[in-house]
Amino acid sequence: MTKFSETQLTEFNRLVARYPEGKQKSALLPVLHLAQDSFGGWLSSETMDYVAELLRIAPIEVYEVATFYSMYNLKPVGKYMFEVCQTGPCMLRGSDDIVAYIGEKLSIKPGETTADGLFTLKTVECLGACGYAPMMQLGKHYREHLTKEKVDAIIDECRKTAAANN
């Protein structure tokens, strides 16, 4: 059953309170982030319908927003998503090699998830870290100045964290 916990509802109410009376739809983007974080890292249609109900808007208003913005995942993704930037400034500093190396190491292509559900590789467009290229987003943070050695260390770190949490 898709439902926010009490803590998540408190956060939901904090988000909605930032906008004028009757303009609760304005909270849609932050609420979708909260929903994605709360319900397994992606937005199912059940989740989107729940958000629509909470914000008292039509489900289509949620779908059209969820499909427009690149950060909302409309299908399940791995526990760790490597979002590697491939736009000009990162390309000039070797992002193609980083994408290829991660793909080879995890035996997946961009857009795919490893069979154990741990890793998803995704190529993305400019994340605003051009001076620290090549880089990727991993969860809430950026990993910058990537090298093959750094990628190895990040993968190990993720595997260890996952094992510790099991």
Binding site: R18, T87, M91, G131
Partner: protein
């Protein structure tokens, strides 16, 4: 060392905290503005300063402020554009991450000037950790009486809210940002009405870039006239440059707009020269949207004069032989880089980011990406280059918002200045897969020492 107005204190230990920031002279501009100046006087100072919008368009900020409508009983809003997404640009992130109180301080003064009781920072969704930094700074400012009810006993109330976007370059366009702030897709609106008349929730709204709002702090502290003395001509004050690509010292630099492009690239105070002892081939001086220039036109104008790091000099020669300051995203390409490939990544970027409202942009960006991919992979025809030229011309000026122009300009400039590199990808298709075109005649004719 040039004048530093924004980042002077960015490296002071603990500057992210209110205590240190305040000890270093922070929030003085709020005291001065609220206690000794009225809203009109603040707008006047910003007008006098000559401050131009730092997001990319360079529109005079004071003039933008003076357009805001003030109908009786209708709330007004200031919105800070922190949706920094122009490839090559990462200065706002730096400012927010390292000296967040500077932005909050500028926002309080600007909110007071515009009469905004609820001010919003719209930040790109990927900068998730910066949201925490900003909310922490807002909380501290509030706890110390600079935000909330009756600020410094003035009767002025102000709250600042941080809203995360969710991955869409187009939301950096102010009307798309407003749509997004209202919880919708980021489709730009048709103007007029301008946001100053009908913005967020149909209320009068001013949208300004992070760096623009931060610059209000030194303007109030030193006075608009003093601020205008820094820089040259209509390029007043300081500008944050995001330097990246094949240079020794990528990073964010504050410049006073009187230095030459050559000094910016080669001096150790800034980019520190081209990486790995290579030579400069080309540069996109103001973010991915602005025209790329070959080295010889970058360092000197077509008339043979030194080119400087300011609005006027960078655009000297128009699009035929010049470029633009744009957002200050300074992307440097060394002799081994392929202009066709770089242009392809930009075309792919704009296709990905087009909102899809206007057909010239929606269809045209996809066509340009396909043609550039084909050329880059050695599968192109000579006529593809003419077709690319034709498509970019049909996008430019034919869309609701400037994304269309932003997608067209880099392609046009790449063909204009590097046409023989494109031709070579057709005539030497197999060879183009094994090596890059190289420096050719684009090389900078001036002898400059390389720094390793």
């Amino acid at each position: 060392m040039g004048v530093k107005l924004l980042l002077e204190k960015a490296h002071v230990e603990g500057i992210r905290s209110y205590e240190v920031y305040r000890r270093e002279g922070g929030y003085r501009s709020v005291e001065k503005a609220i206690k000794t100046m009225g809203p009109e006087a603040i707008v006047e100072e910003v007008k006098k300063s000559g401050l131009r919008g730092r997001g990319g368009a360079g529109f005079p900020a004071g003039m933008k402020w003076s357009f805001i409508a003030k109908p009786e009983g209708v709330p007004r809003h200031l919105v800070c554009n922190a949706d920094e997404s122009e490839p090559g640009t990462f200065k706002d992130r730096y400012l927010m991450e390292f000296i967040p109180h500077l932005l909050i301080e500028g926002l309080i003064v600007s909110s007071f000037a515009l009469g905004s009781n609820n001010t919003y920072i719209y930040i790109r969704g990927e900068y998730a950790w910066i949201v925490d930094i900003l909310e922490q700074a807002i909380g501290e400012a509030k706890a110390n009486g600079f935000l909330g009810k009756n600020i410094l006993g003035s009767g002025f109330d102000c709250e600042i809210h941080v809203q995360r976007g969710a991955g869409a370059y187009i939301c950096g366009e102010e009307t798309a940002l407003i749509e997004s702030l209202e919880g919708k897709r980021g489709n730009p609106r048709i103007k007029p009405p301008f946001p100053a008349i009908q913005g967020v929730w149909q209320r009068p709204t001013v949208v300004n870039n992070v760096e623009t709002l931060a610059a209000v702090v030194p303007i109030i502290n030193m006075g608009g006239e003093e601020y205008a003395k820094i820089g040259v001509g209509k390029s007043t004050g300081t500008k944050l440059m995001s330097a990246c690509g094949n240079i020794n010292k990528p990073g964010v630099y504050e410049i006073d707009m009187t230095i030459s492009v050559e000094e910016f690239i080669y001096s150790d105070e800034y980019c520190g020269g081209i990486a790995n002892g290579k030579r400069l081939k080309a540069c996109i001086p103001g973010g991915s949207s602005v025209p790329i220039l070959p080295a010889n036109l970058l360092l000197k104008t077509a008339k043979g004069e030194t080119r400087y790091m300011n609005y006027e000099s960078l655009s000297d020669g128009g699009f035929a032989t010049g470029s633009m300051m744009g957002s200050g995203g300074f992307i440097v390409l060394d002799e081994d880089q392929c202009v066709v490939k770089n242009t392809y990544t930009f075309a792919r970027f704009y296709r990905h980011e087009s909102c899809g409202q206007c057909s010239p942009c929606r269809e045209g960006t996809g066509w340009m990406e396909k043609l550039l991919y084909r050329l880059e992979k050695g599968q192109g025809k000579s006529s593809d280059i003419d077709l690319l030229w034709d498509i970019q011309r049909k996008i430019e000026g034919n869309t609701i918002c400037p994304l269309g122009d932003a997608a067209a300009w880099p392609v046009a400039a790449a063909i204009r200045h590097f046409r023989d590199e494109f031709e070579w990808h057709v005539t030497h298709a197999a060879e183009a897969q094994t090596r890059n075109f190289g420096l050719a005649h684009y090389a900078d004719p001036i002898h400059v020492p390389t720094t390793v």
